[in-house]
C-alpha cells in the first residue's frame, strides 16, 4: 500500500511536468489549428538555454525561467511568422512536413553543437527531497506541480478576462468571423504560437534541474505530450491538465507493476485507443477528427 501511494505521488509529480508541456501544445493547436511536431524541440532549445545560462553566468534555473520564457516566446513568434503563416492555406500534409522538418533540423543542430553528451544543471536545492512520513518528494517536483496549476488557472483567466484573451478565443472558434469583427487574426496567431512556445520555456526551466539536456530530450517528452493532448480533447487547457495527470499516473504505475521499459507501450496503447474510439478526448471536451 505504501508503495502504491508513493507511486501515486510520483505519478502526479510526473503529470504536472507533462501538463506544462502539453498546455502550450494545446494552445497552439486550439488557436492556429496546426499540430506542432517541433514542440519537443522547443523544449530542447529551452533546456540548453537554461544550461548555458547556468554554465556561463551561474544563473539558477528558476531565475533563468524569465529570460528563457521571453526567448522561447520570440522563437515561437518567428516560427509562426516565417514558417506557419505562409503555409496556413496550404495542404495539411505540407504543414505537417514543415514542422517535422523544423524538428529534424533542430535536433541535428543540437547534435552538431553539443554532441550527444548529457548536460545537467547542478541545482542541489531543487533536488533535495522533502519527507512526509515515509513518503518523499523532490522540491523541484512540488514547484512543478504548483507551477502547472498556476499556469492553467492563469491562462484560463487570461483567456476569459482580457480583451486579447477573448480575441484569441474568438479566433480559435471561427477565424473568418473573428476577421470580420476586426480581430487581426494573423497577429493573434503569432501571439498564440508565441505563448504556446513560452509555456515550453517555463517547462524547460523547471525540468532542467531534474533531467539532463540531450538533443533528443524533446522527442522523448513531446510524444508523451501528444498523448496527453489527445487524451484531454485537443483544445481544452483543463483537459490537457487532467490528461497529463492520468498519463503521469499510468507512467508511474505501469513502470512498477508491468515493466519499466513497457510503460510507453501502455500509454501509446491508450493514445491509439482514444484516437480511434473517442476522438473527442476522454472528457469529451474537443473534436479530434476535425
Amino acid at each position: 500500500m505504501e508503495v502504491f501511494l508513493q507511486l501515486l505521488i510520483n505519478g502526479i509529480m510526473l503529470g504536472s511536468m507533462y501538463a506544462i508541456i502539453s498546455v502550450g501544445l494545446t494552445l497552439i493547436f486550439g488557436v492556429v489549428r496546426v499540430v506542432n511536431f517541433a514542440h519537443g524541440e522547443l523544449l530542447m532549445v529551452g533546456m540548453y538555454a537554461v544550461y548555458l545560462l547556468f554554465l556561463k553566468f551561474g544563473i539558477h534555473p528558476y531565475i533563468a525561467a524569465l529570460p528563457v520564457v521571453v526567448l522561447l516566446f520570440l522563437i515561437g513568434v518567428l516560427i509562426q511568422r516565417f514558417i506557419i503563416q505562409p503555409l496556413l492555406n496550404a495542404d495539411e500534409h505540407i504543414q505537417i512536413f514543415a514542422t517535422v522538418g523544423l524538428s529534424t533540423a533542430l535536433v541535428n543542430l543540437a547534435l552538431m553543437v553539443f554532441g550527444a553528451d548529457l548536460y545537467s544543471v547542478n541545482a542541489p536545492d531543487v533536488r533535495r527531497s522533502l519527507e512526509f512520513g515515509s513518503f518523499r518528494v523532490l522540491i523541484g517536483q512540488i514547484v512543478m506541480l504548483g507551477s502547472a496549476i498556476a499556469l492553467v488557472i492563469g491562462l484560463h483567466a487570461f483567456m476569459q478576462k482580457t480583451t486579447l484573451g477573448r480575441a484569441i478565443r474568438a479566433t480559435a472558434q471561427n477565424r473568418n468571423a473573428a476577421l470580420l469583427m476586426g480581430v487581426k487574426v494573423d497577429r493573434i496567431y503569432v501571439i498564440s504560437f508565441g505563448l504556446g512556445a513560452a509555456c515550453v520555456g517555463l517547462a524547460s526551466a523547471l525540468i532542467s534541474p531534474l533531467f539532463p539536456a540531450t538533443p533528443t530530450v524533446g522527442t522523448y517528452f513531446v510524444l508523451t505530450a501528444f498523448v496527453v493532448v489527445v487524451l484531454g480533447g485537443m483544445r481544452s487547457m483543463y483537459g490537457a491538465f487532467f490528461g497529463a495527470m492520468i498519463i503521469g499516473l499510468v507512467d508511474s504505475l505501469s513502470a512498477y507493476y508491468i515493466a519499466p521499459d513497457l510503460k510507453e507501450v501502455v500509454y501509446f496503447a491508450i493514445f491509439i485507443l482514444i484516437l480511434i474510439f473517442k476522438p473527442t478526448g476522454l472528457f469529451g471536451l474537443g473534436r479530434g477528427t476535425e
Partner: protein, 610 residues
C-alpha cells in the same frame, strides 16, 4: 446520346509493349535508370557502390511510401515498421530455421501486410496530423516491444545475421552483387508504382485523397482502396527491409524501427514530388549522395550535419516548392522529352463502350422509402416520408429552405442512416435491396450530385468524370472514352483538360452531373444543379435531363428554379418541415393551399382569399 460500338483492341500484347520503347518518355527513363547501375560499376569504387546501394534502398522505400503517402494522401510517419518487420522476419528465419532470405522476405512481406491492415483499418478514419501521430505511436510500440522481447529479437544489443556466403543466402564478398539486387528491387517498386498510377486504383486513391464524400458517391469503397494501397506499400517496404538486413548484416530496434528514417523516406518523396512516380527516386538521388559524401569526407565530425541539412531542405521545400520537383517542373521536362525522336504521339482515340442497357418495365417502383425518420438530436429533419419513385419518370422535389430536401437525398443515397424507416432500390435481379453504405448505393445504381459541389480539385475535368466512369468500366482506356462522351454531352468538352479547381461555379455544377452520369446510374439524384447557371445553360440543362430520362434513367431533382422544375417534372413532391405536404401533377401542386402557405405564409393565403 448516340450508341457507340466497342472496337476490340488488345491493350497490352507483347509486341505493343516492345514498341513502347521507341517512345522518348520510355527510353529516356530507362537510360536515366541504367545510370544508377552503370556509374558505380564503371568506377569500381567500393564506396560508390555502397552509395548507390543506399540510393536504391532509399529510393525503393520512398517509392513504396509514396503509394500510401502520396497517391492515397495518408501521411504515414511510421513506415519503417514494415521495413523492420521484413528485416527481422528474414533474419530470424535464417537464424532459427536456416530458411533462405529469398523465401523469408516473402513471409516478412506477408506479415508486414497483415500488420498494415490491422493498423490501417482503425487509423484511416483519422484525419491529417492525427493519422500521422497514430502511425508514429504504432512505430514506437513496435520498437519498444522489439527491445522488450530481447530473447527473441536480441533486444537493444542487436542481432547479427548469420554469415553464409552465396546467392542462396544473399550475402556476398563481391559488393557489386548487392547492387544488382538493390537495383532490381528499385525497378520492381517503380514498376508497381507506375502500374498503380496508370490504373483504376491509382485514380481511386487520388479521388479518396481529394474528397472522401465525392469518392463514396462515385461508388468507391474508401477503406478498401486505402487498405489495398497499404498492403502493396507494406509488402514492398518489407522486401527492401529484408534485403537491407542482409546488406547491413546487423539489426537493432533503434535503426530498424527508426522514426527519423521514416521521416527521411517521406521527405525524399516530398522533395521529388508527392504522388508522382519519378518524384521519390529523384528526391533520393538528389539528397542521399550529399549526406553519404558528407559522412565519407567529414567522418564523425559531421554528426548531425546530414540531419540538419535534411530538416532545413524539408522546411524550404514546403515554403517554396510544395509540389516538389517533379510536380513543379515535370510537365515542362515532359514536353521537352516529347520533342525527341519518336515523340509527339497522342494516344489513339478509342470508341466509348456501349451504354449499360437499363431493363425493367417503365413505371415500376424503382426506389421506395417507407416511413423515413431522421432525427438530429432534438431536431426532426425528416418525418415519416414514404415516397415511391417509378422507373423513367422525372420527380421534382420542392420546398422552402431548410425543409429537409437535402437530408432526404442523403438518406436515399446512403450518406445518412435513417433513425427509423427503410429505403429500398431495385437490385440487379429485379428484387428490392437496401444497401447500407454510400458506395453501396452507387454500385446499386443510385448516382447523386452534391448541392455544394465536390470536385476532385487537382484532377482535370476529364479525370473527374473518369472517376465516375470507372464504376462500370474498370479499364482506363474505356473509362476515358466514356468520360469524353459524357464531357461532350454535358458541355464540358472544351475545358476537359482544365484542373477542376479552376472551373467557375456553373462549370462545377455541370461537372457534378457529368461525374454522376458517367457512372451510368439507373436513378439520378440531382441536388440544385440549375443554381449558378445562366438562362441559356438552364435551358440546356433541362434538355439534358430530358434526354437522360429518355435513355431509361429515372431522375429525382431538388430545385429552386420553379420555372425549370415545373416544366421538367412528371410529378412533384413538396416537403415542408421534413414532411411530405403535397404530391402529384405539377399544375395541381402549385395550386395546393398547403404549398402556397409553406412558401408564402398563411397571411398571404388568407389575403388572396384562396
Amino acid at each position: 446520346m448516340t450508341q457507340h460500338t466497342v472496337t476490340a483492341t488488345p491493350a497490352t500484347s507483347p509486341l505493343r509493349l516492345i514498341a513502347q520503347i521507341t517512345r522518348p518518355q520510355v527510353y529516356v527513363s530507362l537510360l536515366a535508370l541504367s545510370l544508377i547501375l552503370l556509374i558505380p560499376l564503371g568506377s569500381g569504387s567500393p564506396f560508390l557502390i555502397h552509395v548507390f546501394v543506399t540510393i536504391c534502398v532509399f529510393a525503393a522505400l520512398s517509392t513504396a511510401w509514396n503509394i500510401v503517402g502520396g497517391f492515397a494522401g495518408q501521411l504515414s510517419l511510421g513506415h519503417m515498421m514494415f521495413y523492420g518487420i521484413g528485416a527481422y522476419t528474414t533474419a530470424l528465419l535464417i537464424q532459427h530455421f536456416s530458411l533462405t532470405p529469398w523465401i523469408g522476405m516473402w513471409i516478412g512481406a506477408i506479415l508486414a501486410a497483415l500488420v498494415g491492415v490491422v493498423i490501417g483499418y482503425p487509423s484511416f478514419r483519422l484525419r491529417g496530423p492525427f493519422f500521422s501521430l497514430s502511425t508514429i505511436a504504432f512505430l514506437e510500440v513496435i520498437r519498444l516491444l522489439a527491445i522488450h522481447f530481447n530473447g527473441f529479437t536480441g533486444g537493444s544489443a542487436g542481432l547479427i545475421v548469420p554469415l553464409k556466403i552465396g546467392w542462396a543466402w544473399m550475402v556476398f564478398s563481391d559488393k557489386a552483387n548487392y547492387l544488382y539486387i538493390a537495383f532490381g528491387l528499385l525497378l520492381v517498386t517503380i514498376a508497381v508504382s507506375l502500374i498503380i498510377s496508370k490504373s483504376r486504383l491509382g485514380y481511386y486513391l487520388i479521388a479518396v485523397r481529394e474528397r472522401e464524400e465525392a469518392a463514396l458517391a462515385a461508388g468507391i469503397d474508401n477503406t478498401k482502396v486505402k487498405l489495398q494501397a497499404v498492403i502493396i506499400s507494406a509488402m514492398l517496404t518489407a522486401f527492401v527491409g529484408s534485403f537491407h538486413a542482409m546488406y547491413l548484416t546487423f539489426l537493432e530496434p533503434a535503426t530498424m524501427f527508426s522514426l527519423g528514417t521514416s521521416i527521411e523516406v517521406a521527405m525524399f518523396s516530398l522533395i521529388g514530388g508527392l504522388g508522382t512516380v519519378a518524384g521519390p527516386l529523384l528526391g533520393t538521388v538528389l539528397v542521399v549522395p550529399l549526406a553519404e559524401l558528407a559522412r565519407g569526407w567529414l567522418g564523425a565530425s559531421a554528426n548531425g550535419l546530414h540531419g540538419f541539412v535534411y530538416g532545413t531542405v524539408l522546411v524550404l521545400i514546403t515554403l517554396t516548392l510544395p509540389a516538389g520537383l517533379v510536380g513543379t517542373f515535370g510537365p515542362m521536362v515532359g514536353r521537352l522529352v516529347d520533342k525527341l525522336p519518336g515523340g509527339g504521339r497522342r494516344p489513339e482515340e478509342r470508341a466509348a463502350p456501349a451504354l449499360r442497357k437499363l431493363e425493367g418495365p417503365k413505371g415500376e417502383p424503382i426506389l421506395v422509402t417507407k416511413d423515413l425518420v431522421m432525427k438530429f438530436g432534438g431536431l426532426t429533419a425528416t418525418e415519416d416520408v414514404s415516397i415511391t419513385l417509378r422507373r423513367a419518370e422525372i420527380l421534382g422535389i420542392i420546398g422552402p429552405n431548410g425543409a429537409g430536401k437535402t437530408t432526404l437525398f442523403n438518406l436515399i443515397s446512403g450518406f445518412l442512416k435513417p433513425t427509423s424507416g427503410t429505403v429500398a432500390v431495385v437490385g440487379p435481379k429485379g428484387a428490392m435491396i437496401s444497401p447500407t453504405t454510400p458506395d453501396g448505393f452507387a454500385r446499386a445504381g443510385v448516382g447523386r450530385t452534391f448541392q455544394i459541389v465536390q470536385p476532385f480539385g487537382r484532377l482535370t475535368v476529364l479525370e473527374n468524370i473518369m472517376i465516375g466512369a470507372f464504376l462500370r468500366h474498370p479499364g482506363v482506356q474505356d473509362a476515358r472514352a466514356v468520360a469524353l462522351r459524357v464531357a461532350q454531352t454535358v458541355g464540358l468538352f472544351d475545358v476537359k483538360d482544365v484542373e477542376a479547381r479552376n472551373l467557375p461555379i456553373g462549370g462545377l455544377k455541370r461537372l457534378e452531373v457529368a461525374r454522376t452520369l458517367a457512372s451510368e446510374p439507373e436513378i439520378l439524384l440531382l441536388d440544385e444543379v440549375m443554381a449558378g447557371q445562366n438562362q441559356k445553360d438552364t435551358m440546356g440543362m433541362v434538355e439534358l435531363i430530358r434526354s437522360i430520362r429518355d435513355t431509361g434513367v429515372t431522375v429525382i431533382a431538388i430545385e429552386h428554379n420553379m420555372h425549370a422544375i415545373m416544366s421538367l417534372s412528371d410529378r412533384i413532391v413538396v416537403i415542408d418541415s421534413g414532411r411530405v405536404i403535397a404530391e402529384g401533377d405539377p399544375n395541381e401542386v402549385v395550386r395546393n393551399r398547403k404549398v402556397i402557405e409553406a412558401y408564402l405564409g398563411e397571411d398571404y393565403v388568407d389575403a388572396q382569399g384562396l
